[in-house]
Symmetry: C2
Subunit: 247 residues, 2 copies
Protein backbone atom coordinates (compact mmCIF):
# COMPACT_ATOMS: atom_id res chain seq x y z
CA UNK A 1 0.00 0.00 0.00
CA UNK A 2 2.74 2.44 0.87
CA UNK A 3 4.59 2.14 -2.43
CA UNK A 4 7.55 3.54 -0.63
CA UNK A 5 9.42 0.37 0.25
CA UNK A 6 12.09 0.87 -2.39
CA UNK A 7 12.45 4.60 -1.83
CA UNK A 8 11.98 5.13 1.87
CA UNK A 9 12.86 8.83 1.69
CA UNK A 10 10.06 9.78 -0.68
CA UNK A 11 6.42 9.94 0.35
CA UNK A 12 3.68 8.48 -1.82
CA UNK A 13 2.10 11.92 -2.00
CA UNK A 14 5.27 13.34 -3.49
CA UNK A 15 5.25 10.53 -6.07
CA UNK A 16 1.66 11.26 -7.03
CA UNK A 17 2.54 14.93 -7.38
CA UNK A 18 5.66 14.04 -9.41
CA UNK A 19 3.40 12.17 -11.82
CA UNK A 20 1.02 15.11 -12.13
CA UNK A 21 3.94 17.53 -12.42
CA UNK A 22 5.42 15.54 -15.32
CA UNK A 23 2.77 17.07 -17.58
CA UNK A 24 3.30 20.58 -18.85
CA UNK A 25 2.57 22.63 -21.96
CA UNK A 26 5.52 21.07 -23.77
CA UNK A 27 4.52 17.57 -22.60
CA UNK A 28 0.71 17.39 -22.51
CA UNK A 29 0.73 13.69 -23.50
CA UNK A 30 3.14 11.03 -22.26
CA UNK A 31 3.61 7.28 -22.60
CA UNK A 32 3.93 5.40 -19.30
CA UNK A 33 7.67 5.03 -19.86
CA UNK A 34 8.10 8.77 -20.54
CA UNK A 35 5.97 9.54 -17.49
CA UNK A 36 8.05 7.28 -15.25
CA UNK A 37 11.22 8.89 -16.60
CA UNK A 38 10.01 12.46 -16.12
CA UNK A 39 8.72 11.79 -12.61
CA UNK A 40 11.81 9.84 -11.57
CA UNK A 41 9.83 6.75 -10.58
CA UNK A 42 10.38 3.07 -11.31
CA UNK A 43 8.07 1.88 -14.09
CA UNK A 44 6.19 -0.46 -11.73
CA UNK A 45 5.47 2.35 -9.25
CA UNK A 46 4.38 4.70 -12.03
CA UNK A 47 2.14 1.98 -13.46
CA UNK A 48 0.38 1.41 -10.14
CA UNK A 49 -0.10 5.10 -9.32
CA UNK A 50 -1.28 5.90 -12.84
CA UNK A 51 -3.91 3.16 -12.49
CA UNK A 52 -5.35 4.88 -9.42
CA UNK A 53 -5.17 8.31 -11.03
CA UNK A 54 -6.91 7.04 -14.16
CA UNK A 55 -9.68 5.46 -12.16
CA UNK A 56 -10.36 8.83 -10.53
CA UNK A 57 -10.20 10.57 -13.96
CA UNK A 58 -7.26 12.71 -12.84
CA UNK A 59 -5.55 11.23 -15.88
CA UNK A 60 -7.09 9.88 -19.06
CA UNK A 61 -5.87 8.20 -22.24
CA UNK A 62 -5.62 9.51 -25.77
CA UNK A 63 -7.07 7.22 -28.48
CA UNK A 64 -3.53 5.86 -29.04
CA UNK A 65 -3.04 5.04 -25.35
CA UNK A 66 -0.89 7.97 -24.21
CA UNK A 67 -1.62 9.54 -20.85
CA UNK A 68 -2.87 13.08 -20.40
CA UNK A 69 -4.51 15.27 -17.76
CA UNK A 70 -8.14 14.21 -17.26
CA UNK A 71 -11.36 16.17 -17.29
CA UNK A 72 -11.82 15.76 -13.52
CA UNK A 73 -8.61 17.65 -12.84
CA UNK A 74 -9.73 20.40 -15.21
CA UNK A 75 -13.04 20.59 -13.35
CA UNK A 76 -11.26 20.71 -9.99
CA UNK A 77 -8.88 23.39 -11.26
CA UNK A 78 -11.86 25.60 -12.11
CA UNK A 79 -12.45 25.94 -8.35
CA UNK A 80 -9.10 27.72 -7.93
CA UNK A 81 -9.44 31.33 -6.82
CA UNK A 82 -10.63 33.18 -9.88
CA UNK A 83 -12.40 36.14 -8.55
CA UNK A 84 -10.06 38.19 -10.73
CA UNK A 85 -10.99 36.26 -13.84
CA UNK A 86 -14.74 36.26 -13.16
CA UNK A 87 -14.68 39.97 -12.53
CA UNK A 88 -12.38 40.83 -15.41
CA UNK A 89 -13.97 38.70 -18.11
CA UNK A 90 -16.77 41.11 -19.10
CA UNK A 91 -14.17 43.85 -19.47
CA UNK A 92 -12.02 41.66 -21.71
CA UNK A 93 -15.17 40.93 -23.67
CA UNK A 94 -15.96 44.61 -24.04
CA UNK A 95 -12.40 45.47 -25.06
CA UNK A 96 -12.48 42.68 -27.65
CA UNK A 97 -15.85 43.95 -28.87
CA UNK A 98 -14.71 47.55 -29.26
CA UNK A 99 -11.31 46.78 -30.80
CA UNK A 100 -11.82 43.41 -32.54
CA UNK A 101 -8.32 42.43 -31.38
CA UNK A 102 -7.07 39.56 -29.21
CA UNK A 103 -7.22 40.47 -25.55
CA UNK A 104 -5.64 38.64 -22.64
CA UNK A 105 -5.22 38.86 -18.89
CA UNK A 106 -2.11 37.72 -17.00
CA UNK A 107 -0.74 37.63 -13.47
CA UNK A 108 2.86 37.38 -12.33
CA UNK A 109 3.92 34.03 -10.89
CA UNK A 110 7.58 33.89 -9.93
CA UNK A 111 9.60 35.39 -12.76
CA UNK A 112 6.96 34.66 -15.41
CA UNK A 113 3.54 35.82 -16.50
CA UNK A 114 0.74 33.28 -16.24
CA UNK A 115 -2.16 33.88 -18.65
CA UNK A 116 -5.49 33.47 -16.86
CA UNK A 117 -7.93 34.53 -19.56
CA UNK A 118 -8.00 35.28 -23.25
CA UNK A 119 -10.68 36.49 -25.64
CA UNK A 120 -10.14 35.95 -29.34
CA UNK A 121 -12.21 35.77 -32.46
CA UNK A 122 -12.04 33.99 -35.77
CA UNK A 123 -10.30 36.79 -37.63
CA UNK A 124 -7.78 38.01 -35.05
CA UNK A 125 -4.01 37.47 -35.34
CA UNK A 126 -2.83 34.17 -33.78
CA UNK A 127 -1.02 34.78 -30.49
CA UNK A 128 1.29 32.59 -28.44
CA UNK A 129 -0.42 33.18 -25.10
CA UNK A 130 -2.56 30.25 -23.94
CA UNK A 131 -4.90 30.19 -20.95
CA UNK A 132 -2.82 28.45 -18.27
CA UNK A 133 0.37 29.13 -20.25
CA UNK A 134 3.47 31.00 -19.09
CA UNK A 135 5.88 33.35 -20.80
CA UNK A 136 8.87 35.37 -19.60
CA UNK A 137 8.09 38.90 -18.45
CA UNK A 138 10.52 41.16 -20.31
CA UNK A 139 9.47 40.35 -23.94
CA UNK A 140 5.70 40.52 -23.35
CA UNK A 141 3.50 43.59 -23.01
CA UNK A 142 1.72 42.25 -19.91
CA UNK A 143 5.08 41.23 -18.44
CA UNK A 144 6.57 44.70 -18.91
CA UNK A 145 3.42 46.30 -17.49
CA UNK A 146 3.74 44.13 -14.36
CA UNK A 147 7.51 44.36 -14.01
CA UNK A 148 7.43 48.15 -14.16
CA UNK A 149 5.42 48.29 -10.94
CA UNK A 150 7.38 45.70 -8.96
CA UNK A 151 9.72 46.97 -6.22
CA UNK A 152 13.29 47.86 -7.21
CA UNK A 153 14.86 44.82 -5.57
CA UNK A 154 12.63 42.55 -7.64
CA UNK A 155 13.43 44.31 -10.91
CA UNK A 156 17.15 44.34 -10.10
CA UNK A 157 17.20 40.60 -9.49
CA UNK A 158 15.07 39.98 -12.60
CA UNK A 159 17.50 41.94 -14.76
CA UNK A 160 20.56 40.31 -13.15
CA UNK A 161 19.84 36.96 -14.85
CA UNK A 162 20.62 36.02 -18.43
CA UNK A 163 17.40 37.01 -20.21
CA UNK A 164 15.75 34.92 -22.91
CA UNK A 165 15.73 36.41 -26.39
CA UNK A 166 12.84 34.89 -28.37
CA UNK A 167 13.30 37.30 -31.32
CA UNK A 168 16.05 39.63 -32.57
CA UNK A 169 13.84 42.53 -31.37
CA UNK A 170 13.71 41.42 -27.74
CA UNK A 171 15.23 44.03 -25.47
CA UNK A 172 17.55 42.23 -23.04
CA UNK A 173 20.22 44.83 -22.31
CA UNK A 174 19.62 45.63 -18.58
CA UNK A 175 20.19 49.39 -18.84
CA UNK A 176 17.86 49.79 -21.82
CA UNK A 177 15.23 47.56 -20.22
CA UNK A 178 15.39 49.54 -16.97
CA UNK A 179 14.86 52.79 -18.90
CA UNK A 180 11.93 51.22 -20.71
CA UNK A 181 10.33 50.12 -17.43
CA UNK A 182 10.68 53.68 -16.14
CA UNK A 183 8.88 54.89 -19.29
CA UNK A 184 6.10 52.32 -18.72
CA UNK A 185 5.64 53.66 -15.19
CA UNK A 186 5.48 57.25 -16.31
CA UNK A 187 3.09 56.53 -19.21
CA UNK A 188 0.97 53.92 -17.41
CA UNK A 189 1.16 51.38 -20.23
CA UNK A 190 3.65 49.24 -22.17
CA UNK A 191 4.08 48.79 -25.92
CA UNK A 192 6.09 45.96 -27.49
CA UNK A 193 7.05 45.45 -31.13
CA UNK A 194 7.80 41.85 -32.14
CA UNK A 195 9.69 41.17 -28.92
CA UNK A 196 7.96 37.87 -28.14
CA UNK A 197 6.81 36.76 -31.61
CA UNK A 198 7.76 38.04 -35.05
CA UNK A 199 4.65 39.52 -36.62
CA UNK A 200 2.94 40.56 -33.37
CA UNK A 201 2.88 43.77 -31.36
CA UNK A 202 1.11 44.50 -28.12
CA UNK A 203 -0.12 47.17 -25.76
CA UNK A 204 -0.63 46.36 -22.09
CA UNK A 205 -1.67 48.09 -18.90
CA UNK A 206 -1.26 47.07 -15.26
CA UNK A 207 -4.29 46.56 -13.04
CA UNK A 208 -3.27 48.42 -9.93
CA UNK A 209 -4.93 47.92 -6.55
CA UNK A 210 -3.51 50.19 -3.83
CA UNK A 211 -0.56 50.82 -6.13
CA UNK A 212 0.27 47.10 -6.40
CA UNK A 213 0.16 45.38 -9.82
CA UNK A 214 -2.26 42.48 -9.31
CA UNK A 215 -2.61 41.64 -13.01
CA UNK A 216 -2.10 43.11 -16.48
CA UNK A 217 -4.42 43.43 -19.44
CA UNK A 218 -3.02 43.25 -22.96
CA UNK A 219 -4.09 43.64 -26.59
CA UNK A 220 -2.18 41.95 -29.41
CA UNK A 221 -2.22 43.10 -33.04
CA UNK A 222 -0.42 42.08 -36.19
CA UNK A 223 2.81 44.04 -36.66
CA UNK A 224 1.53 45.12 -40.09
CA UNK A 225 -0.92 47.22 -38.12
CA UNK A 226 1.45 48.38 -35.40
CA UNK A 227 0.56 52.02 -36.09
CA UNK A 228 -2.88 51.30 -34.67
CA UNK A 229 -1.48 50.35 -31.26
CA UNK A 230 -1.55 53.90 -29.83
CA UNK A 231 -5.28 54.29 -30.46
CA UNK A 232 -5.89 51.04 -28.49
CA UNK A 233 -4.29 52.52 -25.39
CA UNK A 234 -7.28 54.54 -24.27
CA UNK A 235 -9.85 51.67 -24.32
CA UNK A 236 -7.19 49.43 -22.75
CA UNK A 237 -6.57 51.82 -19.86
CA UNK A 238 -10.27 52.30 -19.30
CA UNK A 239 -10.87 48.51 -19.12
CA UNK A 240 -7.88 48.08 -16.77
CA UNK A 241 -9.27 50.84 -14.54
CA UNK A 242 -12.72 49.21 -14.60
CA UNK A 243 -11.28 45.90 -13.42
CA UNK A 244 -9.22 47.63 -10.73
CA UNK A 245 -12.34 49.40 -9.42
CA UNK A 246 -14.14 46.04 -9.23
CA UNK A 247 -11.33 44.55 -7.17
Amino acid sequence: MSGGSREPGRSVTSKVLAILGAFDAAHPQLTLTELAGRSGLPLSTAHRLVGELEEWQALSRTPDGRLRVGLRLWELGQLAPHRLRELAHPWLQELFGSTGENVHLAVRDGLEVLYVDKVYGRRAVPIVSRIGGRLPMHPTGVGKALLAYEPDWFVTSYLARKLERPTPHTITEPGRLARELAAVRSQGHALTYEEMTLGSCSAAAPILVDGRPVAALGVVVSSRRSRELPRLVEPLLSAAAGIARGL
Copy 2:
Protein backbone atom coordinates in the same frame (compact mmCIF):
# COMPACT_ATOMS: atom_id res chain seq x y z
CA MET B 1 5.81 7.59 4.95
CA SER B 2 2.96 5.32 3.99
CA GLY B 3 0.36 7.05 6.13
CA GLY B 4 -1.65 3.87 5.83
CA SER B 5 -0.82 2.21 9.13
CA ARG B 6 -4.22 2.90 10.64
CA GLU B 7 -6.18 2.15 7.46
CA PRO B 8 -4.32 -0.67 5.79
CA GLY B 9 -7.02 -1.14 3.13
CA ARG B 10 -6.75 2.35 1.70
CA SER B 11 -3.84 3.51 -0.43
CA VAL B 12 -2.17 6.85 0.14
CA THR B 13 -3.05 7.81 -3.43
CA SER B 14 -6.72 7.28 -2.69
CA LYS B 15 -6.37 9.49 0.38
CA VAL B 16 -4.74 12.27 -1.63
CA LEU B 17 -7.54 12.00 -4.17
CA ALA B 18 -10.14 12.00 -1.39
CA ILE B 19 -8.69 15.29 -0.18
CA LEU B 20 -8.81 16.82 -3.65
CA GLY B 21 -12.30 15.39 -4.22
CA ALA B 22 -13.58 17.03 -1.03
CA PHE B 23 -13.64 20.34 -2.90
CA ASP B 24 -16.55 21.05 -5.20
CA ALA B 25 -18.62 24.01 -6.36
CA ALA B 26 -20.64 23.93 -3.14
CA HIS B 27 -17.47 23.56 -1.03
CA PRO B 28 -14.72 25.59 -2.69
CA GLN B 29 -13.15 26.48 0.67
CA LEU B 30 -12.78 24.18 3.68
CA THR B 31 -11.18 24.27 7.11
CA LEU B 32 -8.83 21.39 7.86
CA THR B 33 -11.48 19.80 10.10
CA GLU B 34 -14.14 20.05 7.39
CA LEU B 35 -11.67 18.67 4.85
CA ALA B 36 -10.81 15.69 7.07
CA GLY B 37 -14.52 15.05 7.59
CA ARG B 38 -15.44 15.24 3.91
CA SER B 39 -12.52 13.04 2.85
CA GLY B 40 -13.08 10.49 5.64
CA LEU B 41 -9.55 10.82 7.00
CA PRO B 42 -8.24 11.21 10.55
CA LEU B 43 -7.30 14.83 11.23
CA SER B 44 -3.60 13.94 11.63
CA THR B 45 -3.49 12.21 8.24
CA ALA B 46 -5.35 15.07 6.57
CA HIS B 47 -2.97 17.55 8.20
CA ARG B 48 0.11 15.77 6.89
CA LEU B 49 -1.21 15.28 3.34
CA VAL B 50 -2.49 18.85 3.15
CA GLY B 51 1.01 20.05 4.09
CA GLU B 52 2.50 18.26 1.09
CA LEU B 53 -0.29 19.43 -1.22
CA GLU B 54 0.15 23.03 -0.06
CA GLU B 55 3.88 22.91 -0.62
CA TRP B 56 3.25 21.85 -4.23
CA GLN B 57 0.57 24.61 -4.60
CA ALA B 58 -2.10 21.99 -5.34
CA LEU B 59 -3.90 23.62 -2.41
CA SER B 60 -3.58 27.15 -1.09
CA ARG B 61 -4.99 29.17 1.80
CA THR B 62 -7.53 31.95 1.85
CA PRO B 63 -6.56 35.05 3.86
CA ASP B 64 -8.52 33.60 6.82
CA GLY B 65 -6.66 30.27 6.66
CA ARG B 66 -9.23 28.08 4.90
CA LEU B 67 -8.00 25.64 2.27
CA ARG B 68 -8.88 25.89 -1.40
CA VAL B 69 -7.72 24.55 -4.76
CA GLY B 70 -4.40 26.14 -5.72
CA LEU B 71 -3.27 27.90 -8.86
CA ARG B 72 -0.95 25.03 -9.82
CA LEU B 73 -3.90 22.64 -10.09
CA TRP B 74 -5.75 25.18 -12.23
CA GLU B 75 -2.70 25.45 -14.47
CA LEU B 76 -2.43 21.66 -14.71
CA GLY B 77 -6.12 21.34 -15.47
CA GLN B 78 -5.69 23.65 -18.45
CA LEU B 79 -3.70 20.85 -20.10
CA ALA B 80 -6.80 18.61 -20.14
CA PRO B 81 -8.03 17.78 -23.63
CA HIS B 82 -9.72 20.93 -24.83
CA ARG B 83 -9.53 20.70 -28.55
CA LEU B 84 -13.31 21.21 -28.49
CA ARG B 85 -13.03 24.36 -26.43
CA GLU B 86 -10.12 25.84 -28.40
CA LEU B 87 -11.91 25.21 -31.63
CA ALA B 88 -15.33 26.34 -30.44
CA HIS B 89 -14.30 29.53 -28.64
CA PRO B 90 -14.15 31.83 -31.69
CA TRP B 91 -17.66 30.66 -32.64
CA LEU B 92 -18.96 31.41 -29.16
CA GLN B 93 -17.30 34.77 -29.47
CA GLU B 94 -18.95 35.45 -32.81
CA LEU B 95 -22.36 34.33 -31.55
CA PHE B 96 -21.97 36.61 -28.54
CA GLY B 97 -20.90 39.43 -30.82
CA SER B 98 -23.87 39.07 -33.17
CA THR B 99 -26.51 38.52 -30.47
CA GLY B 100 -25.09 40.32 -27.42
CA GLU B 101 -26.44 37.46 -25.29
CA ASN B 102 -24.71 35.03 -22.91
CA VAL B 103 -23.41 32.03 -24.80
CA HIS B 104 -22.13 28.76 -23.35
CA LEU B 105 -20.81 25.39 -24.42
CA ALA B 106 -21.45 22.13 -22.55
CA VAL B 107 -20.70 18.44 -22.83
CA ARG B 108 -22.53 15.52 -21.25
CA ASP B 109 -20.73 13.81 -18.37
CA GLY B 110 -22.74 11.01 -16.79
CA LEU B 111 -26.28 12.27 -16.26
CA GLU B 112 -25.29 15.93 -16.15
CA VAL B 113 -24.07 18.68 -18.42
CA LEU B 114 -20.60 20.05 -17.70
CA TYR B 115 -20.05 23.63 -18.89
CA VAL B 116 -16.69 23.95 -20.64
CA ASP B 117 -16.86 27.52 -21.90
CA LYS B 118 -18.92 30.64 -21.50
CA VAL B 119 -18.85 34.08 -23.08
CA TYR B 120 -20.66 36.89 -21.34
CA GLY B 121 -20.60 40.65 -21.27
CA ARG B 122 -21.29 43.36 -18.76
CA ARG B 123 -24.89 43.91 -19.79
CA ALA B 124 -26.10 40.32 -20.31
CA VAL B 125 -28.53 38.54 -17.97
CA PRO B 126 -26.79 36.67 -15.11
CA ILE B 127 -26.84 32.91 -15.69
CA VAL B 128 -26.26 29.98 -13.37
CA SER B 129 -23.86 28.11 -15.63
CA ARG B 130 -20.23 28.37 -14.54
CA ILE B 131 -17.18 27.12 -16.46
CA GLY B 132 -16.41 23.78 -14.80
CA GLY B 133 -19.91 23.69 -13.29
CA ARG B 134 -22.54 20.98 -13.68
CA LEU B 135 -26.31 21.07 -14.03
CA PRO B 136 -28.94 18.38 -14.63
CA MET B 137 -29.82 17.78 -18.27
CA HIS B 138 -33.62 17.96 -18.47
CA PRO B 139 -34.13 21.58 -17.25
CA THR B 140 -31.35 23.15 -19.35
CA GLY B 141 -31.36 23.99 -23.05
CA VAL B 142 -27.96 22.41 -23.67
CA GLY B 143 -29.02 19.35 -21.65
CA LYS B 144 -32.20 18.87 -23.69
CA ALA B 145 -30.25 19.36 -26.93
CA LEU B 146 -27.81 16.60 -25.87
CA LEU B 147 -30.40 14.25 -24.36
CA ALA B 148 -32.50 14.34 -27.51
CA TYR B 149 -29.69 12.74 -29.51
CA GLU B 150 -28.69 10.07 -27.00
CA PRO B 151 -29.74 6.46 -27.72
CA ASP B 152 -33.17 5.32 -26.51
CA TRP B 153 -31.82 3.15 -23.69
CA PHE B 154 -29.97 6.17 -22.27
CA VAL B 155 -33.02 8.43 -22.41
CA THR B 156 -35.24 5.71 -20.91
CA SER B 157 -32.90 5.25 -17.95
CA TYR B 158 -32.54 9.03 -17.55
CA LEU B 159 -36.31 9.49 -17.40
CA ALA B 160 -36.79 6.51 -15.05
CA ARG B 161 -35.21 8.39 -12.14
CA LYS B 162 -36.87 10.99 -9.94
CA LEU B 163 -36.04 14.21 -11.79
CA GLU B 164 -35.00 17.42 -10.06
CA ARG B 165 -37.42 20.31 -10.32
CA PRO B 166 -35.50 23.58 -9.85
CA THR B 167 -38.51 25.76 -10.79
CA PRO B 168 -42.29 25.25 -11.07
CA HIS B 169 -41.81 25.39 -14.87
CA THR B 170 -39.42 22.43 -15.06
CA ILE B 171 -40.87 19.64 -17.16
CA THR B 172 -40.34 16.39 -15.25
CA GLU B 173 -43.30 14.24 -16.36
CA PRO B 174 -41.58 11.44 -18.38
CA GLY B 175 -44.17 11.26 -21.19
CA ARG B 176 -44.15 15.00 -21.76
CA LEU B 177 -40.37 15.16 -21.60
CA ALA B 178 -40.06 12.31 -24.13
CA ARG B 179 -42.40 14.16 -26.52
CA GLU B 180 -40.36 17.29 -26.07
CA LEU B 181 -37.11 15.46 -26.86
CA ALA B 182 -38.73 14.11 -30.03
CA ALA B 183 -39.60 17.69 -30.98
CA VAL B 184 -36.00 18.80 -30.33
CA ARG B 185 -34.77 16.05 -32.66
CA SER B 186 -37.17 17.01 -35.40
CA GLN B 187 -36.46 20.77 -35.10
CA GLY B 188 -32.73 20.47 -34.45
CA HIS B 189 -32.76 22.76 -31.45
CA ALA B 190 -34.20 23.08 -27.93
CA LEU B 191 -35.98 26.00 -26.27
CA THR B 192 -36.54 26.29 -22.51
CA TYR B 193 -38.61 28.82 -20.59
CA GLU B 194 -37.60 29.34 -16.94
CA GLU B 195 -37.05 25.63 -16.41
CA MET B 196 -33.66 25.99 -14.70
CA THR B 197 -33.87 29.53 -13.33
CA LEU B 198 -36.82 31.87 -12.96
CA GLY B 199 -36.23 34.84 -15.21
CA SER B 200 -34.11 33.05 -17.83
CA CYS B 201 -34.91 31.32 -21.11
CA SER B 202 -32.59 29.56 -23.48
CA ALA B 203 -32.12 28.20 -26.97
CA ALA B 204 -29.60 25.42 -27.58
CA ALA B 205 -28.36 23.27 -30.42
CA PRO B 206 -26.40 20.02 -30.42
CA ILE B 207 -22.99 19.81 -32.05
CA LEU B 208 -23.29 16.61 -34.03
CA VAL B 209 -20.29 14.70 -35.36
CA ASP B 210 -21.26 11.59 -37.37
CA GLY B 211 -24.72 11.90 -35.82
CA ARG B 212 -23.35 11.77 -32.25
CA PRO B 213 -23.93 14.72 -29.89
CA VAL B 214 -20.42 15.67 -28.77
CA ALA B 215 -21.41 18.98 -27.19
CA ALA B 216 -24.19 21.58 -27.17
CA LEU B 217 -24.14 25.32 -27.69
CA GLY B 218 -26.65 27.51 -25.87
CA VAL B 219 -27.81 31.13 -25.66
CA VAL B 220 -29.50 32.48 -22.55
CA VAL B 221 -31.78 35.52 -22.47
CA SER B 222 -33.92 37.20 -19.87
CA SER B 223 -37.46 35.79 -19.83
CA ARG B 224 -38.76 39.34 -20.35
CA ARG B 225 -37.32 38.98 -23.84
CA SER B 226 -38.34 35.39 -24.45
CA ARG B 227 -40.06 36.39 -27.70
CA GLU B 228 -36.62 37.08 -29.15
CA LEU B 229 -35.48 33.47 -28.67
CA PRO B 230 -36.73 32.23 -32.05
CA ARG B 231 -34.65 34.79 -33.97
CA LEU B 232 -31.54 33.55 -32.13
CA VAL B 233 -32.02 30.04 -33.49
CA GLU B 234 -30.53 30.68 -36.91
CA PRO B 235 -27.19 32.18 -35.72
CA LEU B 236 -27.08 29.47 -33.04
CA LEU B 237 -27.48 26.66 -35.57
CA SER B 238 -24.93 28.20 -37.89
CA ALA B 239 -22.33 28.47 -35.08
CA ALA B 240 -23.07 24.87 -33.97
CA ALA B 241 -22.60 23.70 -37.56
CA GLY B 242 -19.34 25.66 -37.83
CA ILE B 243 -17.97 23.97 -34.70
CA ALA B 244 -19.10 20.55 -35.94
CA ARG B 245 -17.31 21.12 -39.26
CA GLY B 246 -14.11 22.00 -37.40
CA LEU B 247 -14.30 18.79 -35.40
